[in-house]
């Protein structure tokens, strides 16, 4: 499965970039995230509950940040598995400074899924992923708003 998209944040690039390195922010933004712990500078461990059509299950996995070029870009490697299969993905995230204290986030990525998730959930997975991204960005917007305005 391929993913691609963009989102406009109303905050300076450094702030947005920083937020992506903050497990609390990410953890709070991803729907179904039950746990997200920072292991070291670039590794996180997470437990995520997801529901795709008839399949709902917990996934536990790792999130690794590599090729970090603060505050311009970062590559995310995700590996998760659980009772309903596995997900493996890599995402390339770019932060473009559009000036005016706005930042355009662009992402492309590819994910492999397997197990029950693939065999009975494949049909729905694209739309589930889309709605998940939408929710994540909405939540991040809120978090940013709170943080950015506070400062």
């Amino acid at each position: 499965m391929k993913v691609e998209g963009e989102h406009l944040f109303k905050a300076p690039r450094e702030v947005v970039y920083e937020m992506f390195n903050d497990p609390d922010a990410l953890g709070a933004a991803v729907p179904g995230m039950q746990k997200m712990v920072k292991i070291d500078e670039s590794h996180y461990e997470a437990v995520l509950g997801i529901r795709v059509g008839p399949v709902s299950a917990n996934f536990s996995g790792n999130l690794t940040l590599t090729d970090e070029v603060p505050p311009e870009s970062v590559t995310l490697i995700i590996e998760g598995k659980g009772g309903a299969g596995f997900v493996k993905g890599v995402g390339y995230v770019k932060f473009e400074d559009l000036g005016d204290q706005t930042t355009l986030l662009k992402y492309t990525g590819e994910a492999n899924i397997g197990g029950t998730l693939a065999s009975v959930g494949q049909r729905m997975i694209d739309s589930v992923a889309k709605s998940m991204f939408k929710t994540v960005f909405e939540k991040l917007d809120k978090i940013l708003e709170e943080r950015w305005q506070k400062n």
């Binding site: 059509g53 009772g83 596995f86 899924i113 197990g115 029950t116 693939a118 065999s119 494949q122 049909r123």
Partner: protein, 781 residues
């Protein structure tokens, strides 16, 4: 013989119990003390196993045992070659890599078993999956057949130099020479989709070891109970007499239930013996899609060479066939494809090459249609393309090249699944085709219906194809018929039943031969303690082989009835006849003796039985044909299609079929209609889709679309066109009919679709078409 029953549309004896929920399928059987098994299956299609740790699962309340490959010790080994490849084809290569019951070291398809959980309930057993830690190193998967054939770096079996499972070349005449004289040569690449058998009942297996009697009882929804008995006996080192395999009622077979050496039939008897408890496993639908065998999935590179006048000079087909991760079932399917490609038309020069490929998918074994559908599809399509190229109507081109009655029997020179050269025994191929044109009223469609519809802006098309159905292959089947002292008759055979009405059709033969009421005949199938010889239910062979054996055994019993009665009544045998349920003296109907009485006399409790006389009114007979038979026929369809939605509707379908003598036309029609629905489903709805990682992404009825009542033809006619056999292979003239219906719908429907768009360049090169694919094709046209 009096034919009160044979050939008549007798209603089924088994119905009233089935209709009221009074029969038992395997999941209906509860053995006291039974435990439930669930299989943890691989999420990956291809991976190395690093670690499987099930220790946590054992702590879960209700879990009794968990096994991984290592726990089976020496018992773990690759299974037998259930069907060996034929040795008679010169130069053929076959790499046997047989199924393993549970993955060890390496996973080769998604859904392969990694661990077996035994628990007090199925719910608990599945809960325990969450406790098992599986660590693997994923590998790229072999999915695409042509790429997989070439690929030598990603190997399904590391010890082989490539993914080649088999390479078989068969040639008749000399294609390349013939091609030189051709006016037209057409080559195409065509895809045949991967489909599931999807019987409504999934598979199921119960193993129950009785420690006190040292006996294993097995209930299995299988098409081959005797194969299971043999393999369990070998694997556990038991005598076959210690193993009793019972097939309860089975909710449809369609091929895959013939497969053995799977996790259930290998591991569960062993576990039952270890735990001394009955173990039950019932497959769920997702497992059925993932890990029960399936079929089709071929890529054909065909070439046809013709004269300008339409005479076919030769045909060449190099095709890739997916065997899945293992090839325990040999080459039955692609060999069927080879024999069927050349089975209809006069093809003096023929070259066919099987390239059987290992892939990271579940094993491929026959599914109703079994290789035949693919061969017929390839040939029928090529004839259509040739007709377009030559500017001859596809009808005329077929009529010109179809075999004629006087050309049969014909030795095609191609060796088939039964390891002997295929012989087209009998049939009026051209007559079937002409009959079909007549019943569907081809002329009227062309002259009136289609032009009228075009004027109204509607798209309708017609397709008429010819087909054959190789049936009734050996080796043999048998049965035993016994008359009880009550006068009731029992027939037992090693064959098993999945809805084919065996309880009725074999009873029809016996009731006529012995002149008893059909209700007084009891047919027992698929119980190894009742009858322990036979090969199993497959290849449209039940009626022909078991039917013939039944007839032969009944003849023997009949002879015994007469000799016993003659002695008792002191009347010569030729003065006796069978009255219903008894023997009477001709012209003296009052002098009768009931069959039950004769049965008692034939089994005296004191006195002397003469030397050479076997006791009882009982006889056993076997029947094995020298080669298979060939059913044949034609199919016509009229399809309309809405250009906006691209959804085809089958307005009319006519099937002309010659399956030889019919024991029961009602049952024959049921077989044909069922086959037709599968053929329609295969063509327009059903498709097993694997992604590039070998993940099956259509493992439920939400994604694997089954044909429904509204998808059937609006009007369907079945015409029986039974040509008297010119070659009497079968004593009753029976050929077989189980798969015929599934074969021709594909080529007929695509021909009709192309016809509906004859003003475009629409050219369909695959066997399965969803509306969105039709849309894509139309965009290109």
């Amino acid at each position: 013989m009096t034919e009160k029953y044979f050939g008549k549309p007798i209603k089924r004896l088994e119905d009233k119990f089935m209709l009221t929920g009074n029969v038992k399928y395997v999941d209906d059987i509860e053995v006291p003390g039974q435990l439930h098994a669930a299989f943890l299956r691989s999420d990956y299609a291809h991976a190395r196993i690093l670690k499987i740790d099930a220790s946590e699962a054992l702590k879960r309340p209700g879990v009794v045992a968990v096994y991984t490959a290592d726990d089976f010790g020496d018992f773990w080994k690759p299974g037998p070659l259930q069907v060996p490849p034929p040795t008679a084809i010169p130069g053929s290569q076959f790499n046997a890599r047989t199924l393993v019951p549970i993955a060890k070291d390496k996973i080769r398809y998604s859904g392969e078993v990694l661990a077996v959980v035994i628990a007090e309930s199925r719910y608990i057993a599945e809960d325990a999956f969450d406790d098992i830690i599986v660590d693997v190193d994923p590998l790229p998967a072999v999915v695409d057949l042509e790429k997989g054939w070439e690929n030598t770096s990603v190997l399904v079996h590391d010890d082989l130099p490539s993914n080649m499972a088999a390479l078989v070349k068969q040639e008749v005449g000399n294609y390349e020479e013939a091609k030189k004289n051709a006016d037209v040569v057409i080559s195409k690449r065509m895809l045949i989709e991967h489909v599931a058998a999807a019987a409504m009942e999934n598979r199921g297996f119960i193993a129950s070891w009785d420690e006190r009697n040292q006996e294993m009882t097995i209930w299995a929804g299988t098409q081959s109970p005797l194969t299971i008995r043999g393999s369990v006996s070998r694997a556990l080192g038991l005598a076959e007499s210690q193993i009793h395999v019972i097939t309860p009622y089975i909710g449809g077979g369609f091929g895959p239930k013939v497969m053995t050496s799977l996790a259930d039939d290998v591991l569960l008897p062993w576990i039952s013996k270890q735990l001394k408890r009955p173990i039950k496993w019932i497959e769920d639908r997702r497992e059925n899609f993932l890990a029960t065998t399936s079929e089709r999935d071929q890529v054909h590179h065909c070439e046809i060479a013709l004269k300008k006048d339409g005479t076919i000079l030769g045909f060449k087909d190099v095709f890739y066939h997916n065997t899945g991760a293992y090839d325990s079932y040999g080459m039955t399917v692609p060999l069927n494809t080879q024999t069927h490609t050349i089975s209809n038309y006069r093809i003096p020069n023929f070259y066919s090459e099987i390239r059987m490929v290992f892939t990271n998918q579940m094993v491929v074994t026959p599914v109703r249609g079994a290789g035949r559908s693919e061969g017929i599809f390839a040939m029928e399509r090529m004839v259509d393309f040739a007709a377009k190229e030559l500017g001859i109507s596809p009808i005329e081109l077929r009529k010109k090249n179809l075999l004629r009655v006087d050309e049969l029997p014909l030795n095609t020179g191609v060796i088939g699944q039964d390891f002997v050269v295929n012989i087209l025994d009998s049939g009026d191929y051209l007559g079937n085709y002409e009959k079909c044109l007549e019943v569907i009223d081809y002329e009227k469609f062309r002259k009136e219906i289609q032009p009228k519809a075009r004027k109204e802006g509607k798209r309708v098309g017609i397709g008429v194809v010819a087909f054959t159905e190789g049936t009734a292959v050996g080796p043999y089947e048998g049965c035993r018929i016994t008359v009880s002292t009550s006068g009731k008759v029992t027939m037992t055979s090693g064959y098993s039943t999945q809805g084919q009405a065996h309880q009725t059709v074999f009873a029809q033969i016996i009731a006529d031969q012995l002149n008893v009421k059909i209700e007084d005949v009891r047919v027992i199938t698929g119980d190894t303690n009742q009858f322990a010889w036979g090969a199993g239910t497959f290849a449209s062979r039940g009626a022909a082989l078991v039917g013939a054996a039944t007839y032969l055994a009944a003849q023997k019993v009949r002879a015994k009835i007469f000799s016993t009665a003659s002695k008792k009544l002191e009347v010569p045998e030729d003065e006796l006849e069978l009255c219903e349920g008894s023997v009477c003296v001709k012209g003296q109907p009052e002098t009768t003796i009931p069959l039950g009485t004769l049965a008692a006399l034939a089994n005296p409790m004191r006195g002397v039985v003469e030397p050479g006389v076997e006791p009882g009114l009982e006889a056993t007979a076997y029947y094995g044909p020298p080669h298979g038979s060939t059913g044949c026929g034609a199919m016509g369809v009229i399809v309309s299609i809405d250009e906006e939605t691209c959804k085809p509707v089958i307005e009319r379908m006519v099937m002309v079929d010659d399956c030889g003598t019919m024991i029961n036309p009602l049952i024959v029609d049921g077989q044909l209609q069922g086959g037709i629905s599968m053929g329609i489903g295969n063509t327009l709805y059903e498709r097993l889709v694997y992604d590039e990682n070998g993940q099956l992404v259509t493992a439920s009825f939400m994604d694997y679309l089954m044909p429904l009542a509204t998808d059937m033809p609006k009007k369907l006619d079945i015409v029986h066109n039974h040509a008297e056999s010119s070659l009497k292979v079968n004593p009753l003239g029976i050929k077989g009919v189980g798969e015929a219906g599934a074969i021709p719908p594909g080529p007929a429907i695509v021909q009709a679709l192309e016809d509906a768009f004859q003003d475009t360049k629409l050219e369909i090169l695959e066997s399965n078409l969803s509306p969105s694919q039709i849309y894509e094709y139309l965009k290109k046209a």
